[in-house]
Amino acid sequence: MTEETVTREKLWGRPKLRVPIPFSFFCPGCHYGIIVRLICEVLEELGVEGRAIGLAGVGCSFGPFPVSIDIDFTSCPHGRAPAMATAIKRIYPENVVFTVQGDGDLGAIGLGCFMNALIRGEKLTTIFLNNACYGTTGGQMAPTTLMGMKTTTTPEGRDPRTTGFPLHAAELVATMRGVAYSARCTVHSPANFRRARKALKTAFHKQIDGIGYGFVEFLSACPINWRLSPPDCIKFISEKMIAEYPLGEFKNVDVIELPEEWR
């Protein structure tokens, strides 16, 4: 790994694309603010802020992400961001189009939309925020909720016999032929933050280079709904979340293989 020069500005400074807002949209200890910063940094590094278009799904990303990142941005109805991103990308292929979606948005109400964008092999980037619950509505069970995890709609803990098993989005995405990149990351430590930045940059590159779909899943803390302190959330991620959702790249290709007659 190349050495990074850590300057005071880099550590405490605000990325150029981060809109200065005098308060935080997010709960104390939530990782979404870090992910907003990460997106800003990556778009700046890639130099695509002028042609970037973001689409935020319903959930805690709905208003805060569009407002916080200084690019063209729209919120989307629940689960429809991949369909909407498809339309923009097809109309303006030169733009860099990405969606930001939570686990209810992508994994439940919008799974059909998302899977069909993958099936069509769209040249898009999706940032999937997995905090194992419905954050905005008060912590109900999501498709990503861990087995045994207590939520407001699984008061005795998620029972796989009645509510099934956690959705492994990054692994699922990697099985789709139109996908060029799929990875799972966290931002719960500086080292992981750096790895996440690299992953996100790679995912955007797959779109910019016209290769295929780029997907990055973030395991993200939700202290209020997990009923845990921010430090305990970090512990929960490193011990419980990663045990269920292993980190790493599940697919990274520079060419989408085509049958001979289509090459």
Binding site: I53, I71, D72, A83, I91, G112, N116
Partner: protein, 365 residues
């Protein structure tokens, strides 16, 4: 002279859209409108456009929504059950005030209805809005292939002019009936630039657009949004009401119909005239805004109204509202169909023939 082609209403819709500078179509197959997406999938790539087959109507409506938000002329087409699936997205399009066009080629009935049968049973949903949030869409109801072709151009113009969704409402008969169409490009007044479009801030002088919801767009005060929309809707009511009258000057009975029913009614009016019965026709072209004032005047002058619609009675509600109880309003609804077999499996779909309307006219005069 412009080229003339023998085409059905569906193809006329598709060709009209392309003449209206629409290059992007997002759709999902459903009978009886499949000729539209099929034509678009064939023709749009030839002119640098894009056809995307979505995974459902619920997805295609959002593709249309954001395509419009991105400033492009975009459309989709569907039929009744698919139109129901689009209601959520239509509500969002209304909220975001983006200009788009959706075509509904009606088939009969609620639920799955009938793919192969004609009907006009979406009037209330299309004109009153099936989605949430008290919005309006302009509704154009062509009754010939030529009007399908022309009104698609008009639809895109009106959508851009007022930043609203324009619905073009046809039905199975209009969609699948072939007529000669003159391929003429209509001229309209110039439109303002779409400086609000979402296409990357570098393409707008570095000024970014962030759209979250209408509540945020009007300082977080919902009444201001509704006040603004009320002004837009009033302007549309004042300027865009369209209707056609036929032989109504000396009439003693006024027929009232739109779409394919208006064709039957027009023929029935001629047949009645041949018998010496003075019958006229009033045909609303914009179903929203509904030509209330013009209809009220015409109905009061004539004195008696017969509504003909291939539905259990939806248009008739607007007519009764327009005439304010001052004129008797009669209805010849879907039960007026001639059904030779009387049963759907043996092909007895039926339509309301002009002869049936004439019979009704004789009873009323």
């Amino acid at each position: 002279m412009a080229e003339r082609l023998l085409i059905d209403g569906n193809e006329a819709i598709a060709r009209g859209a392309i003449y209206g500078d629409c290059k992007y179509f997002f759709g999902y197959p459903i009978t009886p409108q499949n000729e539209i997406p099929e034509f678009m999938s064939r023709e749009l790539p030839k002119i640098g456009g894009v056809y995307v087959q979505s995974e459902s109507e619920a997805a295609s409506v959002y593709m249309v929504y954001v395509g419009a938000l991105a400033g492009a002329r975009v459309m989709t087409s569907t039929s009744s059950p698919g139109f129901s699936l689009m209601q959520e997205g239509i509500s969002y399009i209304a909220e975001a005030e983006v200009p788009a066009v959706i075509v509904n080629v009606m088939r009969m009935g609620p639920g799955i209805g009938t793919g192969g049968q004609h009907g006009q049973t979406d009037y209330r949903q299309v004109t009153k809005g099936g989605g949430h949030g008290a919005y309006h869409c302009i509704v154009l109801a062509p009754y010939s292939s030529q009007e399908c072709f022309d009104y698609m151009q008009l639809a895109f113009h009106l959508a851009d002019k007022y930043r609203v969704l324009v619905l073009v409402l046809t039905d199975f008969i209009i969609g699948r009936m072939a007529e000669v169409v003159e391929l003429r490009k209509l001229g309209f007044e110039p439109l303002p630039e779409k400086d609000w479009a979402l296409k990357g801030k570098a393409f707008k002088g570095g000024r970014r657009r962030c759209y979250v919801s209408a509540a945020f767009s009007y300082g977080g005060v919902p009444p201001r949004y509704y006040q603004h929309m009320a002004e837009v809707y009033q302007k549309i009511r004042d300027t865009e009401v369209r209707y056609e009258t036929y032989r109504d000057e000396d009439a003693v009975l006024l027929l009232l119909a739109y779409g394919s029913s208006a064709r039957m009614a027009k023929r029935a009016a001629d047949m009645a005239r041949a018998e010496g019965c003075r019958v006229g026709l009033f045909r609303p072209v914009t179903l929203w805004p509904f030509p209330e004032d013009a209809l009220c005047q015409a109905a009061r002058r004539v004195g008696k109204v017969l509504v003909v619609e291939d539905s259990p009675g939806e248009l008739v509600e607007d007519v009764k509202f327009a005439v304010q109880g001052k004129v008797p309003v009669h209805l010849l609804g879907i039960w007026g169909r001639y059904t030779p077999q009387g049963d759907i499996m043996t092909g007895g779909s039926g339509i309301i023939y002009p002869e049936k309307i004439l019979q009704e006219i004789r009873g009323l005069i």
